[in-house]
């Protein structure tokens, strides 16, 4: 180990490292989505959703997002698992989750979609995944923050609850894209507008750091398997967060 570290410091470790990681077997993902309590997010204020569930026994959700919501590389992206989990935890409630996501969508694009397509569809809840494309393109910070506020205000005005979701984490791309600024802006807007922010970045960062999921696999089939598991976990945890503190939901037996 020491020899390897010394080499790394001298600047030749990159190839050594790659070789080493290629030989090591990928860690096997645990069946359940193991996360410490700090990631068991709770929401409390989703009045429009609560109302819809209680009065009409339906829950209509729209997920707005970019590529990581469409789910390239995954059989089923997180919205599908999210829908299943909601249905499982809300017996007697008709649950539907629709996706309005497109690869390359910026926050500005999404606000347009929210106004033209999402609000007319009259969902009770919107999951809004954003920030990635804006960070990659280096979008103007003010424009980004203003778009978030505009989208949230439009949804609230239409009696729709909204939950924000931040970016994916990957050790390989995090040094190439400066996400920090946009993440901070999302935290700020969520705090100021009293909107729940699903910290997907922190969650994936935890999984990666603790080697629960290996994001560095190069085999296509293995990549797909990891992507499926991660999307599944995100969908499940999102459902847990949405239905936390709610008497309408039941904790399903495992």
């Amino acid at each position: 180990m020491i020899a390897r570290i010394a080499l790394g410091a001298l600047g030749v470790a990159m190839t050594v490292a790659v070789a080493a990681s290629a030989q090591a077997p990928a860690p096997v993902a645990p069946p359940a989505c193991d996360v410490p309590d700090q990631f068991r997010y709770l929401t409390d204020d989703l009045p429009f959703m609560d109302q819809a569930v209680k009065r009409t026994h339906t829950l209509k959700v729209v997920v707005v997002g970019s590529a990581s919501t469409v789910g390239p590389g995954a059989e089923n992206a997180y919205p599908a698992r999210f829908e299943k989990e909601l249905a499982r935890r809300l017996p007697g409630v008709q649950v539907s989750v629709t996706v309005k996501a497109k690869s390359g969508f910026t926050a500005v694009d999404m606000v347009k979609t929210i106004k033209s397509e999402v609000i007319p569809a009259k969902p009770a809840l919107v999951i809004w995944q954003t920030g990635t494309v804006d960070a990659v393109q280096g979008a103007n910070a003010e424009t980004f923050a203003d778009s978030l506020v505009a989208g949230i205000e439009a949804l609230h005005k239409a009696s729709i609850d909204v939950i924000l979701m931040d970016m994916q984490y990957s050790p390989f791309t995090s040094s190439m894209v400066n996400l920090e600024l946009y993440r901070k802006l999302m935290i700020w807007v969520a705090q100021r507008r009293d909107v729940f922010l699903f910290h997907r970045y922190d969650l994936m960062h935890y999984w990666s750091e603790n080697q629960i999921f290996d994001l560095g696999v190069t085999d296509r089939a293995e990549q797909r398997r990891v992507a499926d598991t991660i999307h599944g976990c995100i969908g499940q945890m999102l459902a847990q967060a949405v239905l936390s503190n709610r008497d309408v939901a039941r904790e399903p037996s495992r």
Binding site: G8, S68, Q191
Partner: protein, 390 residues
Amino acid sequence: MAVSPSLSAAPRTRRDLRLDFFRGLALWFIFLDHMPSNTLNEYTIGHLGFSDAAEIFVFISGFAAAVAYGSILKRRGYVLAVARILRRVWQLYVAQIFLFVAFIAQVAYVAARFQNPMFAEEMGIVQYFQEPHISLLQALLLKFRPANLDILPLYIVLLASFPVVLWGIVRAPLVTLGISAAFWGVVHYFHWNLAGYPPGTEWYFNPFAWQLLFVTGAVCGIEGDSLKKILPHRNILFALAVVYLVFALVIAKTWYVPQIETLVPPWVGDLLYPIDKTNLDLLRYFHFLAMAYVTVYFVHADSKFLHWRVFHPLVVCGQHSLQVFCVGTFLSFLGHWILVQINGSLPMQALVSVTGIALMSLLGYVLAWYKAKEAARATVAAPPRVGVAE
């Protein structure tokens, strides 16, 4: 201003070691901050309030530029001072291009080796290299500055315009500072910024706004005494600075610890939000000034600890900031890769951080040694001349 590496040797001019010390510190912080996989970066200056290492770097660069080129101006005239400034600008430009090449090497490697459809969108940077004739040209024009490559372009623009600033500050420092502040205001009002690449983007560090901090540093460097006269009483200013720093600390903590978020009344949040780094928000500007004021309140130019052996590496890094900065940026790419690829555990993070800092310091020592040798030869061969150390 050339100072021999061994601090015990009698320097030709008294150099304010605080500059080197704190610039060295900023360089170390920038190195740590640029490794996203390193949790040690949670302990750098950016987590203590509104401003971060960028402010320290820009302010001290302005300060050092004023001292160095002001001295050349006095001894050898304006034309030579301008020539020296432009030579420095060229060096910075070459350094930026070097870092850009190192960056594309990393991108190309990741794109080829770790292509994963799950992160296709995050790898969007790759699409810009599908048209290399455009992206390379845009990089040469300093318009394309991906990820963390935006601080040197800022420095280049600030220094390239320094001949004008220097002309102003040696004649009327406070008037120059006033013009700089007024310009900052105009820029904010009209939203001026330099264009970036891809089209539609702007510079992450807006040079038109950040010039205020650079000029503030330069004015302090050349005319610190006349500034002191117009400032309120030392203790009042100190108390104000401390109150502001504590306030900023509490606010900054709420970004990372949601539990104490409720401590901040919403109207305060609305007033503060968003703290604009691109255009050097005044909250950041004054946060840096408050921090600098409290620091110099305790740390004097002749403070003993500046000469302590343990801090010598910091000082040496600060004395060769450009080279150390470049190597630091390069090492932060590498360090990140080691953490990602071999082992990202906490001891490993500490080891990578310490090794990187040691290598940066080693470079500082080598450069100091070389400079001392050159200076010794120059004094034998020719009459003494004033060198520039920034």
